[in-house]
């Protein structure tokens, strides 16, 4: 369970152009649920994802993971929590160009230094699950958009995280691929993962796998269903 208590994030704090991207936000995410954040551009959705995903520290307020306070941890420990708990799928996939699909998938495991054969077996299994096993040796620049996304999802899962975070996962996909992505989300949920997404896409808000849609505006929650 993840709880945000009175969380604020202020960018460029103390300067004349400071921006309160998130203000005094309370939010609780239950395990094994699929939650979608929606709202106008600039409303702070991505900022909330970065705070929950331990990519950034809140300026104020507390973040708790299963009751353990994460806000206030130094970066070293945040990174530990991040690689143990969260997997990320980004809007622009963010694969590293010039590396093969396989190399991209195993990257998050490098700091944990597992045995290579275990790592390889795990990467193969994930690639098979998401249908990119035959593309593993290709440079990621040569993959199609859908394949890129599936490689990115496989990468997000390599350390077996409990929570998968996806920012605008369908923004770069046509409707067929978007539907395929929803299938992936269903797979994740079936595997017991918690999923948190942001989306402007009505097909996502109304999808069956989605348990909860939270609407944001100006850094606050305006409506939680």
């Amino acid at each position: 369970m993840i709880e945000l208590q009175g969380v604020s994030k202020i960018y460029r704090q103390g300067r004349s152009n400071e921006i309160a991207a998130v203000c005094d936000l309370d939010l609780t995410l239950q395990d094994n649920r699929v939650t979608v954040l929606k709202g106008p551009s600039g409303s702070g959705k991505t900022t909330v994802l970065t705070i929950i995903g331990c990519l950034a520290r809140p300026t104020q307020g507390r973040v708790l993971l299963d009751g353990e306070i994460l806000s206030g941890l130094p970066e070293k420990f945040l990174a530990e929590v991040r690689r143990r708990t969260f997997g990320f799928a980004f809007q622009r996939f963010n694969l590293i160009a010039g590396l093969t699909a396989f190399e991209n998938i195993v990257l998050p495991a490098y700091p944990l230094a597992p045995r290579f054969d275990t790592l390889k077996a795990r990467a193969l299994e994930l690639a098979e699950t998401f249908g990119v096993a035959h593309r593993l040796d290709l440079n990621v620049d040569d993959l199609s958009g859908g394949e890129m996304q599936r490689v990115a999802v496989a990468r997000a899962l390599i350390n077996d995280p409990r929570v998968v975070i996806a920012d605008e996962p369908t923004a770069n996909l046509d409707s067929e691929r978007a539907a395929q992505f929803l299938d992936i989300v269903a797979t994740l949920k079936a595997r017991g993962k918690t999923v948190l997404m942001t989306s402007h896409d009505p097909r996502i808000w109304s999808a069956n796998v989605v348990d909860r849609v939270v609407e944001m505006a100006d850094g606050r929650i305006v409506e939680a269903a």
């Binding site: 970065t50 990519l55 070293k76 990174a79 980004f90 963010n94 010039g98 490098y110 700091p111 230094a113």
Partner: protein
């Protein structure tokens, strides 16, 4: 510990792949680094080889040498003068030396002809015997028991049986050496029995060398007294400022290189910055990135160092340093025939590492840190 190393291996793996992906850009830096090591390494190797040579010459040199002077030029010393020196207190083992150069037309080489010192019993020679250096033996295809023939400029012939060939480890000082008995030497160069090339003295107490040569100069005012320290100083003075000049230029080069490295490490492409951000977002930590980047810097610098050092070694010892020879030419007046024996030791390698690796790493440290500490949430935008 094994966990630590496993982690380093993954980081090293990523670092080498990352270098390879940007080989064009990295190659430039690598080549400049290797060139810097090559130049500095050449100067250092050359310098210490010369110093070593000088030290070997000096080690066997007498504490004081007295040379007769006539009209400002070196003249022959006389046996009667040697007797006068014996009264100087503090000096012992005073002996006249016989030595000279001979240009040998048949092999187109310069030999040093000399008589063995009375205090080196293992080199003692009878008339008709000779001991030759390794170089002479090689040129003349000589070995023990064979005969050596020499012709003096005046046309006198010397025939001597080779008693021994000096071992190659002392080749530096003795390669061109031909030792013959005093009797043969005088006959060959047509010297009177009371003539010597110069006079060598040993002084038992090193702090009295100055006093002894001063007293000697009083006893023999027409002689020039040269102490070993004088010789050392001459070598040192002649070499130090040349080497200093090169090093001063090199310091500038090191500085320029450090600035270049700093600049390269700071000016990452947008693509590279993005990569770092991605790595952090997917679970790498700042110190993982720093280590990975340090591996990159280490791979570049150490391989360039090894390459530059190897080239410098070949340059100095296989080719007699043609590229820096002009600057260091002063030495050729001291060593008309110089062939440097290959010699590298830990001190030189460490020094070179300090002068090149240290500024490089120091210059890239802050840029690496800056890159590594970029906010990971950037990649979400």
């Amino acid at each position: 510990m094994s966990g630590w190393w496993a982690r380093q291996r993954y980081l090293l793996d990523y670092a080498s792949a990352s270098l390879w992906r940007r080989k064009g850009r990295n190659l430039v830096l690598w080549a400049i680094f290797a060139a810097l090591v090559f130049i500095l390494g050449s100067v250092i190797l050359f310098g210490s080889a010369i110093r070593r040579e000088a030290a070997l010459v000096l080690r066997d040199a007498p504490d004081v040498v007295a040379q007769a002077m006539r009209m400002g030029r070196h003249d022959m010393a006389l046996a009667s003068d040697i007797a006068k020196l014996k009264s100087v207190r503090g000096a012992d083992r005073i002996e006249g030396r016989l030595w000279g150069y001979l240009y040998d037309t048949s092999t187109d080489a310069n030999y040093t002809l000399q008589t063995p010192s009375a205090h080196a019993p293992d080199l003692a020679l009878q008339k008709g015997e000779a001991i030759v250096g390794e170089g002479v033996a090689r040129l003349r295809k000589l070995s023990e028991g064979k005969h050596l023939f020499l012709v003096s400029p005046a046309g006198r012939l010397l025939k001597a049986k080779v008693k021994k060939v000096l071992s190659p480890e002392s080749a530096l000082v003795s390669s061109d050496l031909v030792l013959v008995s005093a009797e043969d030497f005088r006959a060959f160069f047509e010297l009177a029995p009371d003539q010597f090339t110069d006079i060598a003295m040993r002084v038992r107490n090193p702090s009295e060398v100055g006093t002894v040569s001063g007293k000697g100069a009083l006893a023999l005012p027409h002689y020039r007294f040269i102490t070993r320290a004088n010789m050392a100083r001459t070598y040192e003075a002649l070499f130090s400022w040349r080497e200093g000049l090169l090093l001063a230029i090199a310091t500038g080069a090191i500085l320029a290189f450090a600035i270049l490295a700093f600049d390269k490490a700071s000016g990452l492409s947008a693509q590279e910055r993005r990569e770092i951000g991605i790595l952090k977002a997917i679970g790498w930590e700042t110190s993982d990135i720093i280590r990975m980047k340090l591996w990159e810097a280490g791979l570049i610098s150490v391989s360039a160092f090894v390459a530059g050092m190897t080239l410098a070694y070949l340059h100095v010892f296989a080719m007699s340093a043609p590229l820096i020879e002009t600057v260091l030419k002063g030495w050729s007046t001291l060593y008309p025939r110089f062939a440097l024996t290959p010699h590298v030791d830990a001190l030189q390698v460490t020094t070179l590492a300090f002068l090149t690796l240290l500024p490089y790493i120091a210059a890239v440290l802050a840029p690496i840190w800056r890159t590594a500490s970029a906010d990971p949430d950037r990649v979400m935008r």
